[in-house]
Amino acid sequence: MPSPYIPNTDADRSALLRTIGVRSVDELFADIPKAHRDPELRLPPPLSEAELKRELAAMARRNAAPGEYACFLGAGAYHHYVPAIVPYLVGRAEFATSYTPYQPEISQGTLQATYEFQSLVCQLTGMDVANAGMYDGSTAVAEAALMACRITGRGAIAYTNALHPRYLDVLRTYLESQGLTLVLTSGAAALPLDTAGVIVQSPNFLGHMEDTSIAAQAAHAAGALLIAVFDPIALGMFRPPGELGADIAVGEGQPLGLSMSFGGPYVGLFATRTQYLRQMPGRLVGRTRDSTGRDGFVLTLQTREQHIRRERATSNICTSESLMATASAIYLAALGRRGLRRIAELCYHKAHYAAERIGTLPGYTLPLRGAFFREFVIHCPAPPYLINQRLLEQGIIGGLDVSDRLPFAMLLCVTEMTTRQEIDRLVDALRKAGGR
């Protein structure tokens, strides 16, 4: 059966073979050792578009989808509203099917959209310059750590135990390969002499705000850089890293108009100070003029990157998450100055309402103090995994089990997508689940 994706017919192929001067396509594969040529490939037999859509729709239905279920999971991926114009615009083939903009004359769309993304990340974070995006928040943190080591010439990265454990895992994997070390620090202890960077996440893994400026002072006093890990929705209301002494600011961009998609594609946000620009990884789009004096955009400072500097590159990153960066820029433009603040406030008030109600339930307490944003920890009367099983039976996806950190603790997340009815239903379900 002919393929819809291969236009050439058998007649076409015969003509091509004649021009090339071979009798069959097999001759073109003569360099492959004969013993290994044309192996058997055991894959499911081909199917049509319609048959596969039916099969895959059934497969998708075997997943519980937030939206159909009330979802109280956060911990690095968040159920926020995706304005319709975001998928509408990035679904345009001109954005979705084009390549990395190395030929600027025919990629001004991608380039300008990326410049907008860079600009809006700077506006949001209060930093001087942002790159075109990394893979995700966790690898952005890891690359920030490597950057701090390059800049200072030192080999240790300090972190607190309030850092997202998965981000810590990724850090560990990246740093170990280069013989760099991780040092656990608390606020009080002095930093080791070899500290290149100090990582502070705010809101932290458990949802609470940290004192980033104190950490920045400590880092700078030790000659180290402050790496601030932020949440972009929280920055709708909270003071941004650029005003708190951050040298590098990184975060997860998924909440900015990207669906959760079982973990990806997301986009890592990465911003820094002008003085560190040349050590920043990732692509950068700059504004300039063409030969007639028209404004235009172009990839710039490419000498930092792998295709030029090779083994001395700031990073090996090539393909990143360009389309997701464009989506985030559209989200930030759509919500804008007032809208993002409103979203943040909705998250804040709904989360605090939920916390307050749960805190009055018998057997449940709120073990942590201090300001929090949209996530908070509850102490349950039974192991969280049991509570979650009962919640799931009621059509509720409960919070993350963090009982490895705090006894019987669960990390709950509430966003602007969570209705009051869903919160009240959660409270009732928790009461029942805790009762047994």
């Binding site: 994706y5 192929r13 003509a15 091509l16 021009t19 073109l28 360099d31 040529r37 044309d38 894959l43 499911p44 596969l52 239905r61 997943n63 989808a65 937030p66 279920y69 991926a77 159920h79 001109e94 954005f95 979705a96 099917t97 390549y99 903009p101 004359e105 025919i106 990629s107 001004q108 769309g109 600009s119 700077c122 995700d136 997202h164 981000y167 994997t173 280069q178 705000m209 209301m237 003071r239 998609s261 079982f262 973990g263 990806g264 504004r287 300039t288 003029r289 063409d290 007639t292 172009v298 000498t303 792998q306 030029i308 393909t319 464009t326 433009a333 919500l335 008030h349 602007e416 009051r420």
Partner: protein, 487 residues
């Protein structure tokens, strides 16, 4: 004409009181806000109406050339057509809305897809299994070389501090090796474009952790001595990493595992046609043989069969290098690649390779008289020409590439690999018809004639793009990387 009157940047379009999205009302009582010291004063984002945002990005998109518009022969990028039904599947709520940390029993559909994807990629590559965690090809390379390092460390062999790469290697290869703390040594290619075996032998020793090699190479050539190469490396105690960027040439025609590769990455956004997005998202799964499978990153997807039936779950390989990302890879891209492999099956994948290689050789045959062919042999899925003949007339590969824009084509890859002077690397892919190939070839031949008769028209190209050549020197000297308020 789009481009001549571009709208101002969003921050410059902004006017107080405009908004691009409605926000729900608060349905719970307000709680006291945190101390004002924690709160920001202003939020300096734009205020633009939805209508104007749409118009703005709509116009921007029209300044892009894309695969949907036409021929995009970027060598080593495999810019093939992206089937549209994949997008519908990726949007299904069960796939698009699932939270990555949901209890496993609530995402069995997603886990099943991932498991089958692992298996299918392993089968295609002739390896034992695959990890779907890497979010791009370079991320897959990093994962693979980290595993090579972990392998040697686990055997107490800490003297292996060098990685060998061919002199034609893509820049990510040495960058990756350096990110893993290795020293990089380049192995030269011979006059036929194959790896110089004697030079390889000389470079191998107890300090070599492994060899990174692309097959077909970045020159678009299949090294017929590949088995000897992998055997040599193994005999010296090293491992072989396969950069699978050029897999489109050999799908179903040979299994890399059978040729001695220990670990291979693939680019789903190349071979398996997930849309390139203007620079991502991509996905770079790594497949491993016996030696490296225990070192795969977490999580890996396993299938368990018990009395309840079949279930899928995340597992940790016994000597895992750990996490390389917060979650489990770019699942949304896996969905699209899964659709592709299921629709094509083994016969369809084989057809992809055969047609890709056929198309590239046709372009070679028709252009080799007008342009210098640095390696006079059959190519695989891409052909490298050199503009060295044209350089003698004062016209460079860059100029030819820009002139192709005037003919309505995206230029091929230029100046890569570095070992070819004035390189133009053309990868037609299998999704292009002979009519398109002929139109492209005719344009290249016309440009070759222009070089002889009217070189200025080539040197001054493009004449028909939304914008002419940009001042990249000033962009680098005086970087303007973000919107600034006008004073």
């Amino acid at each position: 004409m789009p481009g001549l009157e571009r709208r101002p940047l969003l921050m410059d379009q902004s006017k107080p009181g405009r908004t691009g999205c409605t926000v729900p009302a608060l349905d719970v009582p307000e709680s006291p806000l945190p101390p004002s010291a924690l709160l920001r004063d202003d939020l300096p984002l734009p205020e633009v109406s939805e209508r104007d945002i749409v118009s703005y990005f709509h116009r921007l998109s029209q300044l892009n050339y894309s695969v949907d518009e036409g021929f995009y022969p970027l060598g080593s990028c495999t810019m093939k057509y992206n089937p549209k039904w994949h997008e519908e599947v990726a949007r299904l709520p069960g796939f698009a809305q699932a939270h990555p940390l949901q209890p496993e029993e609530s995402v069995q559909g997603a886990l099943q897809m991932m498991y089958e994807m692992q298996e299918m990629l392993a089968e295609i590559l002739g390896m034992r299994t695959a990890s779907l965690c890497p979010m791009a090809g370079a991320h897959g390379e990093l994962t693979g070389i980290m595993m090579v390092r972990a392998y040697h460390v686990s055997r107490g062999d800490r003297g292996r501090t060098t990685i060998l790469v061919p002199d034609s290697a893509h820049g990510t290869n040495p960058a990756t090796a350096a990110m893993c703390g290795f020293r990089v040594v380049a192995v030269p290619s011979d006059a036929r474009g194959n790896m110089d075996i004697a030079a390889l032998q000389a470079a191998l020793g107890p300090d070599v952790a492994g060899l990174m090699i692309t097959l077909p190479s970045t020159l678009g050539l299949f090294d017929p001595h590949i088995v000897e190469i992998t055997e040599q490396v193994h005999r010296a105690g090293g491992l072989v990493y396969g950069d699978g960027a050029n897999l489109n040439a050999i799908l179903g025609k040979v299994k890399l595992g059978a040729l001695g590769f220990d670990v291979v990455h693939t680019n789903l956004h190349k071979t398996f046609t997930t849309p390139h997005g203007g620079g991502g998202p991509g996905s770079g799964p790594v497949a491993t043989g016996d030696r490296l499978t225990p070192f795969l990153p977490i999580p890996h997807v396993a299938r368990r069969r018990d009395e309840r039936g079949e279930r899928y779950e995340f597992t940790r390989p016994e000597k895992s290098i750990g996490r390389i990302g917060a979650f489990q890879g770019n699942f949304g891209m896996l969905v699209r690649a899964y659709c592709y492999i299921r629709q094509l099956g083994a016969p369809g994948l084989r057809e992809v390779a055969e047609n890709a290689v056929l198309n590239a050789n046709y372009v070679l045959a028709r252009l080799k008289d007008a342009y210098h062919l640095p390696y006079d042999r059959r190519c695989m899925h891409e052909v490298i020409l050199s503009a060295s003949r044209q350089k003698a007339k004062g016209v460079r590969a860059l100029d030819i590439a820009k002139r192709l824009i005037d003919y309505g084509f995206h230029p091929p890859t230029m100046y890569f690999p570095l070992i070819v002077d004035e390189a133009l690397m053309i990868e037609p892919t299998e999704t292009e018809s002979v009519e398109t190939l002929d139109a492209f070839v005719d344009a290249m031949l016309s440009i070759a004639r222009e070089v002889e008769q009217d070189p200025d028209v080539v040197r001054g190209a493009p004449h028909k793009a939304p914008i002419t050549r940009l001042d990249e020197a000033t962009a680098a000297r005086k970087p303007d990387l973000r919107w600034q308020p006008r004073d």
